[in-house]
Structures are given as structure tokens and as C-alpha cells.
């Protein structure tokens, strides 16, 4: 099972509780990005059967297209595309490990930052 999320990070006086999907990497997110609140604005949870599937995690203006090219013992070979509306903002290919989340620093939005997170659950 792969969880993909579009996460808005910002600093507020009274931060909301971090979403359950991110609780395992809360301290790392805070340390890496320097924000105290993380809110999921779009997500997808995909159970991979064949290992070669694709899916989309979307918010109103962003969408993350994930294309799985296959599965190995270590994880999944993924092709990721971040769209801002219909334009490709960022594209990457990665071997997503089952024991190592993949985090992408996206564009600055308002007083915060868009972060993309992929976790094998």
C-alpha cells in the first residue's frame, strides 16, 4: 500500500494535530522544513496488485500523478509528475523503499510550502 499526499506546511501559533499518515515522520518534517503545522490538501492510498499501476493525488490546484513501473524486494520504481493545474511543474523518477519515505519540497504557497510525501504502508 502506497500513500501519496499533497501537504501544506506553515507556521501557526496553535498548530493542528498532524495527520495520522504523517505521524511517523513528524519530527523529520519539522526539522527539515522548519514548519510546525502540516495539513493534507490532497491524498491517495493505493494498494498495488500488479506493481504496474498509476494513480492521482489531487487538490484544487495541484495534482500528483504516480506511475508505478514495477515492484522489487526493496520497493517500487515510480515515475512522479506534479501538476499545477494542467502544467507539469516537476517530474522525477525514484525507487521508493518500503522503509524510507520520499519527501519532495514543492513551491512556496502563501505563507507556507507545498510538500509531497510518499510512504509505503
Amino acid at each position: 500500500m502506497v500513500w501519496s499526499g499533497l501537504v501544506m506546511a506553515n507556521n501557526v501559533e496553535h498548530p493542528d494535530e498532524i495527520p495520522a499518515e504523517l505521524s511517523g515522520i513528524e519530527s523529520k518534517l519539522k526539522r527539515w522544513f522548519g514548519y510546525n503545522q502540516f495539513k493534507v490538501i490532497g491524498q491517495s492510498q493505493k494498494k498495488l496488485v500488479t506493481g504496474s499501476e498509476d494513480w492521482l493525488a489531487s487538490s484544487k490546484y495541484f495534482s500528483l500523478h504516480v506511475d508505478s513501473k514495477g515492484e522489487t524486494d526493496a520497493g517500487y520504481l515510480l515515475n512522479l509528475k506534479l501538476f499545477q493545474e494542467k502544467s507539469v511543474l516537476l517530474e522525477t523518477e525514484a525507487k521508493l523503499s518500503k522503509s524510507c519515505p520520499f519527501v519532495i519540497k514543492g513551491p512556496p504557497v502563501g505563507d507556507g510550502l507545498l510538500i509531497l510525501v510518499l510512504i509505503v504502508q
Binding site: 523529520k28 522525477t92 523503499s97 524510507c100 519515505p101 512556496p108 504557497v109
Partner: protein, 173 residues
């Protein structure tokens, strides 16, 4: 040809004779002072001769006795080693065993640390690996991409800097 110093020394020692003596004494600028110096030198020589004579040992019997005793003692202590004929063991068995055990322990500790250093390298296959990444240069001409694989945090981060700033409404769900 003798130098003045050589002639002076010879004159002090009374070794100049005949014409050489007459010529040398004629060449002295102040013969009276030279004569006085010669007398002083002779006097000092006599004094040294009398003082530097061998002093008679007053207690020679006692000194001989002490010397003999010392030689006998040293001979006795050296004798047992010569009699046994076997050299003293440099490393006794017990010490050898301890040194062996210590060396083994040090080797084990070093091996442990070397293996422990090696372990994280083996774990690298369990980190998410970024194979490639790119941004659209038309949309984000100043964007730069950095990749971090943090073994400590067990997280891989694709750090994209310089993407275009977007207004707050883009944070809408």
C-alpha cells in the same frame, strides 16, 4: 724561522743561547719588564712542580680492602647466572598468554567497529533512491534541484528551490 712567541717561550725556558739570545734581548722593548715577567714565570713553574707531585695515600690498606670486597661481591652476583648457563626467559608463559588474549580482544573490537561502519553502506539499498528529477525550465527558470538520502532519518528528500511563488489560495483542498 722562529716567531716572536716561540723565541719568547724559549727565552723564558732559558733555551736561547749565543747570538740568538743577544739578538732577542736586544729586540725586547722593555728588558727590565721582560726580566720581571721571566722571574714570575719561573716562580710559578717551581710552585706548580711542588704542588702537583703525587700525594701519598695515607690509608692505602683500607682502600685496597674496600676494593677487594667490592670485586668479590660483584663476582658472586655474576657467578650464579654463569653457572646455570640458561638465559632468563624474556616472556614467561603466563605473560605470553595474557598478551595473546589482549591482542585477540583488540582485534575483535576493531573487527566489530569495522563491521559496524560497513553496515550502513549495506542499508543504503533500503533508502529511497532518486534516479532523476527535472523541472520545467519555462515555468521555473531559476529552479535548482538537490537530493538528500538521510540514513539517520531514514528519509529521502528531493529539495527543489526556486519554484515560482504561488498565492495562498493554491493551498485550498
Amino acid at each position: 724561522m722562529k716567531t716572536f712567541e716561540e723565541k719568547w717561550t724559549a727565552w723564558l725556558d732559558g733555551e736561547l743561547h749565543g747570538e740568538e739570545l743577544v739578538a732577542f734581548e736586544a729586540s725586547l722593548p722593555d728588558k727590565a719588564a721582560a726580566e720581571a715577567e721571566k722571574r714570575g714565570a719561573l716562580k710559578l713553574g717551581d710552585l706548580l712542580k711542588t704542588q702537583l707531585q703525587n700525594r701519598a695515600m695515607g690509608n692505602e690498606e683500607f682502600f685496597n680492602h674496600q676494593l677487594r670486597e667490592r670485586i668479590e661481591k660483584e663476582t658472586e652476583t655474576a657467578a650464579p647466572r654463569e653457572r646455570t648457563g640458561t638465559p632468563r626467559a624474556l616472556w614467561p608463559i603466563s605473560r605470553l598468554a595474557w598478551v595473546g588474549a589482549t591482542a585477540l580482544a583488540v582485534f575483535s573490537i576493531c573487527t566489530f567497529f569495522v563491521m559496524r561502519e560497513k553496515a550502513p553502506t549495506d542499508q543504503s539499498q533500503y533508502l529511497t533512491q532518486i534516479l532523476n528529477a527535472r523541472v520545467d525550465p519555462a515555468m521555473s527558470p531559476n529552479a535548482t534541484i538537490s537530493m538528500f538520502e538521510s540514513k539517520e532519518d531514514k528519509v529521502t528528500v528531493l529539495w527543489v528551490e526556486g519554484l515560482q511563488f504561488l498565492p495562498a489560495e493554491y493551498a485550498t483542498k
